[in-house]
Symmetry: C2
Subunit: 339 residues, 2 copies
DNA sequence: TTGAAAGCGCTAACAT
DNA sequence: ATGTTAGCGCTTTCAA
């Protein structure tokens, strides 16, 4: 079904005609090429302004398949997760500063969508990509990285290929949380995990186990539940834990959405936090203080993750040869009243 | 600084060579043109698969400036606001269903950024745009709409031009909230407004005033505070209200971020909700039940807003001549324990 | 300092 | 059923 794209019909040619010069000269003005007569330049600039002309980025990208076109792709696993929103904000700010535009896609942890959007990124000729792969073995992402597209992984790394990444110390963060619970005297500490094939989920479980071991608390299979990193999963798995014959006295929730789900279940059942059940979440939110009760949580520097990732990516685009780097940012336990 | 775009170098020509046909034939296969020999088609399809070829969308868009290129733009005022995230999810689902890709930009309520991204949308040749203008008189958006780009406004409408829009009944929603407070016996009801030049802020104030009037409560200038729709604004303005010589006994917060900010201030001061101060928010969040206390709030059907907007937009792209429509969705008061 | 022209990958009108 | 070719808007090499 054809549509009338009558808008944006001002192009180089029109500007050139009006200025009585060739399109090459106009192009030079736009790209700040030094070899243009200052008077010609001024005249053309005025016309550009008058006509409200802005260059067609699509044509530019097509032409410059070997030159930066100032476009970055961001592929987000779950836009409903405030953690990724915060990461995105960090990316945005840096991109804006360097005059890069962003094309953002959210694949909602759906690998089919992920593949579709990965193809999209490639076929939109983005200069580089920031993403959080679904797993360390994410073939789609690995392939794209192999093909030479500048890429930075956040939150999750890739195996079998050397790629820039910005991660956090998940194991340590989880340790902090669970150790704190143990020291407070809780002994039946449960862990609600996100998708187990995501490395961060496994790292957090490692930290959980480390802390149990160091505090001489035996690991209990029944106190670990695996879900899918979403709110609903937190609701359901928390209910399963509470229904256990020997329910936990504390819950360590694998991410912020799981935490919110667990809180919902606990509140629905009218249980008192932390008297009847303690809660520590992974991922702090700026409104965690307004939760009931103010939530103790492991804080990831989400904004900074995005900021670093964007800086790494732009620096790689500028100098493709530079060695890859892996940044691991620190996590921190924000102690409040939920345990 | 040049980069090596060595990736994605498979194009029509390569596929055509390998298949021993012309690029036109390959193009026909890709676009499901009927006039292709079934055997040729099968052979070409196999090669496409083997080579992992996907058509270059950039070239396609450049070529088809008068044909849909299956790309929609979404311009979000504040990605940190869960309301817009939910709207975005509605848009995404519909777009995905109709095989449209999305280019999402967030302008963080910054008009300079807004203009930049509006230009970007135009120069990326999107088929259509969904946005929430900064005001009814948003010249940038009006101009773009005038130029003929299919557009749907969400949350906020435009004056002086007939454009599709999906709104909610803000006035009624606010009325519901304030009326409920009044009937509960609160008499010093404050309103913390978002940016006043956004129509929804003003409509909510109208609803607030309507409810006061109908409940014979005199309107007090001092109990209305204007801010900028963000968390920090809620923190600050709530503090100002509490510092009043005659502080309010209830607060109606203009949006979800303001509500969270107000809650933060109230909790920091150790005030009891609702005994010492009641709170009703505009915008429900799925985790409102986990707030302290579970929050009473006006619910907007955010996901549906996005869904309807995307459907309207796609339908307009398909039939540009159809009359514009304005949808107004219902709001609803979710009663919990904060008043 | 400026212009002419090739070509990025694709589609569609026209030709065969 | 298939091929040839113009041209979308732009940058850049080469020539003037």
């Amino acid at each position: 079904m054809p549509i009338e794209n009558v808008y944006n019909n001002i192009n180089l040619k029109k500007v050139a005609e009006k200025a009585g010069v060739s399109i090459a000269t106009v192009s030079r003005v736009i790209n700040n090429s030094p070899s243009v007569n200052p008077q010609t330049r001024a005249r053309i600039q005025k016309i550009i302004k008058d006509l409200n002309y802005s260059p067609n980025r699509v044509a530019k990208r097509l032409r410059n398949r070997n030159v930066s076109s100032k476009l970055l792709g961001v592929l987000i696993p779950d836009i409903q997760n405030p953690f990724y929103v915060e990461v995105l904000r960090g990316i945005e700010d840096v991109a804006y500063l360097h005059e890069y535009a962003l094309i953002v896609c959210n694949f909602s942890q759906d690998e089919v969508k992920e593949k579709m959007y990965l193809d999209l990124m490639r076929s939109e000729s983005v200069d580089g990509l920031i993403t959080a792969p679904t797993s360390e073995e994410d073939q789609q992402v690995i392939e794209l990285a192999r093909s030479g597209l500048p890429m930075v992984c956040v939150d999750r790394d890739l195996v079998g290929i050397d790629v820039d990444s910005v991660l956090v110390d998940n194991r340590k963060g989880a340790y902090l949380a669970v150790d704190y619970l143990a020291k407070k005297g809780y002994t039946r500490i449960a862990y609600i995990s996100g998708i187990p094939k995501i490395p961060s989920s496994r790292d957090r479980e490692k930290g959980y186990r480390d802390a149990l071991r160091d505090n001489h608390i035996p690991f209990k299979e029944s106190l670990v539940k695996y879900g899918d990193s979403r709110h609903e999963s937190g609701v359901k798995l928390c209910a399963e834990l509470l229904d256990l014959e020997q329910p936990p006295d504390a819950i360590f929730a694998g991410n912020n959405l799981i935490t919110l789900g667990a809180l919902e279940t606990i509140h629905t059942r009218g249980l008192k936090i932390p008297e009847e059940i303690a809660v520590v979440g992974f991922d702090d939110m700026y409104w965690s203080i307004s939760l009931n009760p103010p939530l103790t949580a492991v804080r990831q520097p989400a904004y900074n993750i995005g900021k670093c990732a964007a800086e790494q990516l732009i620096s790689r685009i500028d100098s493709p040869g530079r060695p890859t780097s892996q940044m691991i940012l620190k996590t921190e336990l924000m102690v409040r009243n939920s345990c």
